[in-house]
């Protein structure tokens, strides 16, 4: 698997050919992001140094993909699907409004304590088990406001 841990992010010896080196970029960005929760300018520089590619190329790639965060995010990153199928089962809108009201933040924002960020995302390939959402890397299906409350309570306590 082309996955790196943070310890792997040291300068690589040069014999890797250029295209192969850049092909490790997404995996390296994941490794750096997993470390700090987001890609700080220092983390981006670290990735560039470890793969021997220009920092501009790293930013060019990182800024293209929605899963790479170039600004700080909460410890729990809530991603609510607003796709058509989630909308049709009265999920997307209801869930999103409920979470926004409970946490007191709008989509795109973070709670003042840095614990939660709320984001609207596109189809999560869970249309048959809609409404769907993710918290960090974990998928939640058949979500309701009640189940959301229970989940938020648990996360608040952690």
């Amino acid at each position: 698997m082309n996955t790196l841990t943070h310890q792997d992010l040291k300068p690589l010896p040069p014999p890797l050919e250029d295209p192969q080196r850049r092909a490790r970029l997404l995996a390296a960005l994941y490794a750096a992001q997993d470390q700090a929760g987001w890609l700080s300018p220092e983390a981006v520089q670290e990735v560039a140094d470890s793969l021997h590619i220009p920092v501009g190329q790293v930013l060019s790639t990182a800024s293209f993909y929605t899963m790479f965060r170039l600004e700080p995010k909460g410890r729990y990153h809530i991603q609510v699907c607003e796709g058509l199928s989630c909308y049709l089962v009265d999920g997307a809108e209801t869930l999103l409004e409920h979470i926004a009201r409970t946490l007191g933040i709008a989509p795109g924002q973070m709670t003042p304590d840095g614990k939660f960020t709320l984001e609207v995302v596109q189809c999560l390939a869970s249309c048959g088990t809609a409404p769907a959402m993710r918290v960090n890397d974990e998928l939640y299906e058949h979500m309701t406001p009640d189940r959301m409350d229970a989940l938020l309570e648990r996360l608040k306590g952690e």
Partner: protein, 420 residues
């Protein structure tokens, strides 16, 4: 009675393990395949009539035949597991629950086209699938199905997992290749096709997960068996993802050519709450919607085209009489505006303008002539982009206006939605 083959393992306990797969007859097709010549395999896939299950429906055997035969050129197989077409959740089920069925298909495909490296590109959001594939690939190496001299055949194949990172466009094969190379996922102009110049400039075969899942069964049961299922131009079993206003949403494996009516009313249990059916998207967000009167259409490439739509990924999104079609068009336009990669102006700008127009119509702020402007915009996008996304994103508003124009006009005249 149709017997499911692609999904036959997915409900077994520990279905993702190689032991489960082997106990249920897995990895026998690859042994048979390695006894044949690569040319025979390609010929079998051609004769089976298998067409790509990722949306475009290109004949798989023909695609394999495009790969150069020269053994001195290194070649690559890429598994497209970047499922992101709204409404579609079949590939997620296959890669999470039965990875070895796909790996077996990949080994056979790699043998047929002479590839020695395989990359599986898994959509970033599908974390569980990525974890399972790391394990599944390790298991396949341990059992001698990957690595040097596979099953004593002299063939070698290495495979690794790459995760995407949130970009719908990477489901398009050249954008996927760019992403694998660590770049922004923007499609390349074709030609050259990946079979000539793909990943790292090498000849590359890119195939969808469900397409590869069909391959072991074609080898095992023969191309004639596969071609006996389906319609004149659409062969084999197909997984239909059904979502929206149905009683039993889910994945249903059925023969191609099954009617939309049978899928909705027999397999998915009919419309929730006994309401009336209003519209159906037959093949994922990119395909034009159909009305309740059109659901006797067989779900096949040629028959859906004949009624002005597409089979796409076979993702059926069902909408009942309470659904506002302006909102449906608006929501889909928002999706495409968000997912445009930004390379081609008609798609980059047009997708946003379409969303703005549909949004203001839905909000009751529309102006006289907005419907015509929407249609004019679609003509300025369709066919004028590098990749098929331009042609795809015009389908929802065009088909919604074609079938439900009065609903758009009501929004414009009254400034409110008749349904909300």
């Amino acid at each position: 009675m149709f017997e499911p083959v692609l999904t036959r393992h997915v409900h077994l306990p520990a279905s993702e393990k190689i032991t489960t797969y082997l106990e249920n007859g897995g990895y026998t097709a690859v042994r048979r395949a390695l006894e044949k010549s690569p040319e025979e395999i390609i010929d079998m896939v051609k004769r089976s009539g298998l067409r790509g299950r990722g949306g475009a429906g290109f004949p798989a055997g023909v695609k394999w035949g495009f790969m150069p035969r020269d053994p001195s050129i290194p070649k690559v197989v890429v598994i497209n597991a970047d499922e992101g077409e709204p409404g579609t959740f079949k590939d997620r089920m296959l890669i999470e629950r039965d990875p070895h069925q796909i790996i077996e298909g990949v080994i056979i495909a790699a043998y047929a086209v002479g590839a020695s490296r395989a990359y599986v590109y898994i959509r970033g959001e599908l974390s569980l699938a990525a974890r399972r594939w790391v394990e599944a690939i390790a298991e396949a190496y341990e059992h001698g199905f990957l690595g040097r001299d596979i099953l004593g055949s002299g063939m070698s194949l290495d495979m690794e997992v790459h995760r995407g990172a949130g970009a719908y466009i990477c489901g398009e094969e050249t954008a996927l290749i760019e992403s694998l190379e660590g770049k922004r996922g923007q499609p390349r102009i074709k030609p050259p096709y990946p079979a000539q110049t793909g990943l790292f400039g090498l000849p590359t075969l890119v195939q969808n997960v469900e397409t590869l899942a069909c391959v072991p069964h074609i080898i095992e049961r023969g191309p004639e068996w596969f071609a006996s299922i389906g319609t004149a131009e659409s062969k084999g079993p197909k997984i239909f993802s059904v979502s929206g206003h149905v009683n039993r949403p889910g994945n249903y494996e059925l023969p191609l050519g099954v009617s939309l009516r049978e899928i909705i009313y027999e397999h998915a249990g009919g419309i929730r709450g006994g309401r009336k059916l209003k519209a159906v998207i037959p093949g994922g967000a990119s395909t034009p919607m159909l009305t309740a009167e059109q659901i006797d259409v067989p779900m096949a490439f040629e028959t859906l085209r004949a009624v002005g739509s597409e089979l796409g990924t076979g993702a059926v999104v069902v909408m009942d009489e309470t659904t506002c079609m302006v909102e449906v068009a608006r929501r889909q336009a928002k999706f495409f505006a968000h997912e445009s990669c930004g390379r081609c102006t008609p798609c980059r700008i047009g997708s946003v303008r379409l969303y703005e127009l549909l949004d203001r119509i839905e909000q009751g702020q529309g102006r006289a002539g907005d419907i015509e402007t929407v249609l004019e915009l679609t003509r300025g996008i369709d066919g004028l982009t590098f990749c098929p996304m331009g042609a795809a994103l015009v389908n929802p508003p065009r088909s919604a206006i074609q079938h439900f124009r009065a609903e758009f006009e009501y929004h414009l005249e009254k400034g409110v939605c008749p349904l909300h």
